[in-house]
């Protein structure tokens, strides 16, 4: 009988092209937009800062300075087409986030090691992009240091270079992930759409109730428990397919590092657990609501709030502490923590036990509640 329920669910979905597109194409489109917008963060984010270069002198030193900033920090630096243009105009016109004004005499000052005085380089920044000024300032200071070192006699330069304090960045939690922000958005958007699509498909319970099919089913050999399990199983399979398509797309189109045994195993586990919980959540909503319109309205509000708190829209680690803790009451957070462990921290499948336990418990509780509500609904003749 459960097989028959799966068969009905599949036929129903396959013949509803709009639902099929909404289930698979819409999440991909949504994810692609986010991945295209934020994917550059994985490469340091410098490419998103536009720098205008206003040089009051053009020398080999200033050219090296600019090239250093571009090569080492990936900044897009364009010389101002009209040197007379005010820096503020370059910013307000959207030409640049930061304007670097290189004063006359800078080259001489650098190569003479301060003998000719120290002219001031000016940075004009746009407050609307608060990250731009610190990035450009850091890049400029590093480039200035390199140029000064290059100006020293070779022996001295070597000693200075050798004595310079080096900063090394370590990633103790794995950190070998390629394209971590792609992984974040694939998981975050995937889980959010999982909730939307599965709660939407759960409306079949409401349709069955409204059309009398539920009464007919309950008069057959099918029990309410089996009906719910059958529906839940279909939603789980649908959810797994939806998330899998999302990750495969992320791998092929955006370079997500999916096809390693560890990533495949970990993401498969998290996908099944997340789909299980999302399916149970959808069924509970469907048993609580009296109409499809009610389900649509309530599920939209609940899912958007859960997704915002749970980190599907914005990384939880960037949220205030209180919000982060609040987010733990949503299963988006647990699902995303699991995916984060898989793709960012290279966690082995066994290390996902905590997330899996929480999601499994949520599934059991939500399914149990759905069964209670469905029984009440049948008993009350609703």
């Amino acid at each position: 009988m459960i097989r028959t329920l799966l068969w009905i669910g599949w036929l129903d979905l396959r013949r509803d092209r709009v639902a099929l597109a909404l289930t698979f194409a819409l999440p991909l489109a949504f994810f692609s937009v986010f991945a295209s917008v934020f994917g550059g963060l994985d490469d340091g984010g410098g490419r998103t800062v536009k720098v205008a270069w206003v040089a009051e002198e053009a020398t080999d030193v200033t050219a090296r300075l600019r090239a250093n900033m571009e090569e080492r920090f990936g900044l897009r630096i364009a010389p101002a087409t009209d040197p007379a243009q005010e820096p503020a105009d370059l910013i307000t016109s959207g030409t640049a986030d930061v304007v670097v004004v290189v004063p006359a005499g800078l080259s001489a000052a650098l190569t003479s090691l301060g003998a000719t005085g120290a002219p001031e380089v000016s940075l004009y920044a746009n407050d609307a992009n608060p990250l731009a000024a610190p990035i450009v300032r850091g890049a400029l200071e590093a480039a200035l240091f390199d140029v000064v070192v290059d100006s020293l006699p070779e022996a001295v330069a070597d000693r200075v270079a050798a004595s310079a304090v080096r900063i090394r960045t370590e990633r103790p939690l794995g950190g070998g992930a390629k394209k971590p922000s792609i992984a974040f958005f694939a998981a975050g958007i995937g889980v959010m759409f999982l909730l939307f699509s599965l709660s939407g498909r759960s409306s079949i319970l409401i349709e069955e109730r409204e059309t009398g099919v539920l009464a007919r089913l309950m008069a057959s050999r099918l029990t309410l428990g089996r009906l719910l399990v059958g529906r839940w199983l279909f939603l789980v399979l649908l959810g797994c397919a939806q998330i899998s398509v999302m990750f495969v797309w992320a791998a092929f189109a955006f370079g997500l590092d999916l096809f390693t045994p560890r990533h495949l195993a970990g993401s498969a586990i998290m996908t099944v657990m997340s789909a299980g919980a999302a399916a149970a959540f959808g069924l509970l909503l469907a048993t609580l609501c009296r109409s499809r319109a009610q389900l649509s309205g309530i599920s939209s509000v609940v899912i958007l709030v859960m997704s915002a708190l749970g980190g599907s829209m914005f990384p939880r680690f960037l949220m205030p502490e209180g919000m982060q803790q609040l987010g733990r009451f949503t299963f988006n957070a647990w699902a995303l923590d699991g995916y984060q462990k898989v793709f960012w921290y290279e966690a082995a499948p066994l290390e996902l036990w905590r997330e899996c336990a929480v999601l499994a418990a949520a599934t059991a509780v939500l399914l149990g509640l759905a069964l209670v509500m469905a029984r009440r609904s049948v008993r009350d003749g609703v």
Binding site: I8, E210, A219
Partner: protein, 313 residues
């Protein structure tokens, strides 16, 4: 499938003293009924009378607060075994079908839900498609069907497993006369096979034409139970008489008659006995009869007499 106990004729369905309340409001107040194999029982009553609740209790969808239901002579509980469930076929008032599935797929699905699978399922689906006249449209989606086709399929989905008791809730709502005739002939064939039919309806003329007996429910209570003919016989004075003469009568025909110009209308308990006397009285007063109409008592008259004319919702 549970088998009836030895001895014929058997009661296919028996409900005894069924009571059911929702949030303290009684919906059924001790309803009893029985249906024999091959019998067609009409269940009548205004909206809110308790017909659907009674059907749901009989089908095992709702537990009764009090009372017993027996199927094929055996008492069944609210929680029923698969065999007990198979005794009943339920046709809800709604079109309880999956619209995105074809007729054949709907039939296959509901057959499986009743435990009919494999070759038997194929056989029963083919039978149902022929029975409903839908064989040529078997592979078309139900959403594209007319109301009459959906109604026929709605019934077929309930009888694939060969139930001995068929519960029909308004099975012909919204269908044209041709489709209705087809449905009656389908159900008549089932009755011939010994299926007991409980038929809830507001279409009193249909019930009068098809049902062997009727139960009239009102406010959760059975107001009258019996064969249609017997009930109508009990409805005294319900033959409507209309006589048109060549002139306005001056003679009195009785307190139950009204005169409107040359037309006299009224009611007679037994026209065969009383009408000749009336006509003789008219003739004696010099009136010539131009037209005579006699309307036999109808179930609707009985229904209205028992349940009143006021709206219930």
């Amino acid at each position: 499938m549970i088998e009836p106990p030895n001895g014929e004729p058997s009661l296919s369905l028996e409900a005894e003293g069924i009571r059911k309340s929702f949030a303290g409001t009684p919906a059924l107040r001790g309803v009893s009924l029985s249906v024999r194999a091959g019998e067609w029982l009409g269940l009548l009553g205004p909206n809110g009378a308790g017909k659907t609740t009674l059907m749901r209790v009989i089908a095992g969808l709702l537990p009764a607060d009090e009372g017993e239901v027996s199927l094929l002579g055996r008492r069944v509980d609210a929680v029923r075994t698969a065999e007990e469930r198979d005794v009943i076929g339920l046709v809800p008032q709604e079109l309880a079908l999956y619209p995105t599935l074809t007729a054949e797929e709907n039939l296959r699905a509901f057959a499986r839900f009743h435990g009919v699978a494999g070759g038997m399922a194929r056989e029963r689906v083919d039978w149902a498609l022929g029975w409903t006249g839908l064989a040529e449209r078997a592979r078309e989606r139900v959403a594209t069907f007319s109301g009459g086709m959906k109604r026929r399929l709605n019934i077929a989905c309930a009888v694939l497993h060969g139930p001995r008791v068929l519960l029909l809730d308004e099975p012909t709502v919204g269908v044209d006369p041709q489709a209705r005739q087809r449905i009656w002939s389908m159900l008549g064939a089932l009755r011939e096979e010994g299926v007991a039919i409980v038929h809830s309806s507001h279409q009193l003329d249909e019930v009068e034409a098809t049902c062997d007996r009727v139960v009239i429910l009102d406010r959760g209570e059975p107001r009258r139970v019996g064969a249609v003919a017997d009930l109508l016989r009990d409805l005294r004075g319900s033959h409507r008489i209309s006589m048109r003469f060549d002139a306005t009568p001056t003679v009195a025909f009785g307190p139950s008659f009204e005169v409107d110009g040359a037309t006299v209308t009224g009611a007679l308990e037994d026209p065969a006995r009383d009408l000749p006397e009336l006509l003789a009285k008219a003739s004696e007063s010099g009136l010539s009869l131009l037209e005579l109409k006699i309307e036999a008592p109808r179930l609707e008259d009985l229904f209205t007499a028992l349940t009143g004319e006021g709206l219930r919702e």
